[in-house]
């Protein structure tokens, strides 16, 4: 599910960034990464945590995919990452920083 906003974000060289209100950290008790937001705590899968960790506003969506594909050679991650980012934007965990 990639809505128009995500396509635009990817196409226009947007850089995904965690919203300032969201905090990503590792939880020792559960042994998982968690994303903390005003009204909820999301226990993340390893993949989700890896993508979100890279959403720092410093790299484009394409660069994010390249970074992950270097780490997992042979995997084609573009579609999955785009889908995940689409959901993350919809849930207001992540926003696109568009180039000026």
């Amino acid at each position: 599910m990639t809505d128009a906003g995500v396509d635009a974000g990817l196409m226009e060289g947007g850089r995904p960034r965690l919203l300032p209100k969201a905090r990503l950290r590792f939880d020792q008790v559960r042994g998982r990464h968690v994303l903390l937001l005003p009204e909820r705590a999301v226990i993340l899968s390893e993949t989700a945590a890896e993508i979100l960790r890279l959403c720092d506003g410093g790299r484009t969506g394409a660069e994010l995919v390249q970074t992950l594909e270097r780490k997992y050679p042979g995997a084609e991650l573009g579609g999955d990452v785009a889908e995940f980012l689409g959901e993350a934007v919809k849930k207001r965990w992540v926003e696109w920083v568009l180039p000026p």
Partner: protein, 367 residues
Amino acid sequence: MGPPSLDPPASLLAEITHRCPIHCLYCSNPLELTRRADELPTEVWLRVLAEAADLGVLQVHLSGGEPLARADLAALVERATALELYTNLITSGVGLTRARAQALRDAGLGAVQLSIQAAGPELSRVIAGGEFWQRKMDAARHVRDAGLPLGMNVVLHRYNLHQVTGLLELAASLGAERVELANAQYYGWALRNRDHLLPAREMVEAAEREVARFRERAGDTMEILWVIPDYHAEFPKPCMNGWARMFLTVAPDGTALPCPAASVIPGLDPPSVRQHSTRWIWFESPAFNRFRGFEWMSDPCRSCPRRFEDFGGCRCQAYLLAGDPAVTDPVCTYSPHRHLVTEALGRGGGDPGAPVYRMPIKTRGGE
């Protein structure tokens, strides 16, 4: 250790005081409010925060009463932040000056949830029992100016259900990113004033349609949460997501409870953080284990497939309406006590007498 399948609590509801400048007709605090002299001292709250973080708590909701009534609020936020806990301030806004909002942000506060009683000052005065409107509007501005995320929450009932669109427009104009429209739950002062507050079904349905229309118009620029009124529902709410499954409440005097209303349950004998660690309270205490799982249930819950979704509903409501905290929530269509809810709904339109405002507590300091 408790049963191996038992998860740690994700949230701590820290009710740091019952003191509050406003007197809402539906206040969920117990009828017997804790006096200032009986409130936990700062050092105990600091210990509770550390224990909670160690136990697996991820979020702390600082609530009350009005949490701003405590001068050590920023110190508590600072400690929670150092422990990597996400902090939410749940406030009436009264006392939230520009300087205080900035100090709380600097201490690491995550977000603010501001309570609003009505879409305008006149009705707000009636529901909150005083002149607080302008201070609430100012508080919202100070929160946004401090760069903190703002949520707005409104308790809905017969007096304000017709204002739902106005409330949503107000939230948008204040810069709220999330609005919680929560139909009143009938505990504490709300139960006392139930005949005043309980809306007719048509009012609820009209409000629901207004929310849907606003959602269409506004898209997802603002998150809107609509909490259904359980008296009008066919099945009970999964109260607290199950007794002592996710939430740990600590009341102003240190009483630890699976939910803020549970102090009404007779014989519960809830533990206090003054005497026990939060770990013992969560895993071992009889009070927290009393309605965990499904063994305590009787029919119709015991053999009902819905028990895995709603956990039998609310224990406090079962006690308050049917006199037994271990029976099926009387809201449930299968409950032999459902007639108690239906009768309460049928009393609308009669003369309920004068409403009872939540009374301010006298404190030694004479505040």
